[in-house]
Amino acid sequence: MAGGKLKSLFERWGISPIGITALALVFFGFFLGITIHMAFFLLIAPGAFGPGLLRQLGVIEDLDECQKQASIQAAHRAYLAGGIFLTCVTVARSWTRLSLGEDFVPASLVLILMLVVYGVSYCLSFWDPRQAAFLVLFGFGLIWLTFVVLSHGNEPIALMVEGALVAVPFFIAAFLAKRWPRVIGVLLVAASIAAVFFFHLVPPAGAEADKVFGKIFVILMLPLPLALMGLALFGKALKQE
């Protein structure tokens, strides 16, 4: 009887069993973490991020449209607050050194992860995957071209060769993504996997934490966005068939 009343009260206020479970995990994770053992802090992760992740994967559908909008708005604000805070911490702590230093790799790594996920997710939500892929690939091409020009600005031959090898493939892929999304999608995923092995981005067993973070940094910057775009392009092409 009391259980039924409680259930209807939760329903009335739009609180789902998933929300209550998540809240309990965060609360107990925090409480047990500070009173018994640090390991209990691990409970906070599934509580805080589990429901959002499952909703994104389409496993659970427990929110109505107003709740979804509130959740999106909250996530965006959390992204802004987290990003600004991390940037301030990273810059303030290494202000006098003019270098991030190895101990700041994790902080900047979180920042890069946030920016990459935000950028890719915004592009794919707002534009059609083909247009998003075009913009991301074109952006990649421009970034590489800038690097090449900065490092070989006074060597015309090296500039042309490296520009053609590094930047031009991105521009070509950007234009072809609109015409052949499936082919370019598969090529992007393949290129991302190839880049992981070519640049030795899989950390060996027992590698030092700094080296692992360094490799993750490169994965986030290069193969991950390309692979996500490739999968989105391929998925879009399959849906259209």
Binding site: E11, R12, W13, G14, D64, E65, C66, Q67, Q69
Partner: protein
Amino acid sequence: MSGQKLKVNLRRYRFEAGDMTQQELAERVGVTRQTIISIEKGKYEPSIQLALRLARLFGVPVERLFELDERKEDGNGGR
């Protein structure tokens, strides 16, 4: 983006439909009571799908439930 406010007549139609409660309305259109409260307060603008479901439930065209505030439009230059 336009800055034009939405005038919501949901509460009026709810009362006209035999003092229907927010909870009852929420259950009938498949949302939470809090969503109905937010719509009535003008805090949340519903999707076209939800607006159509509400209109169908009350048996009125959707523009009877939701109207663009004309005064505000005139204030903006009446484009």
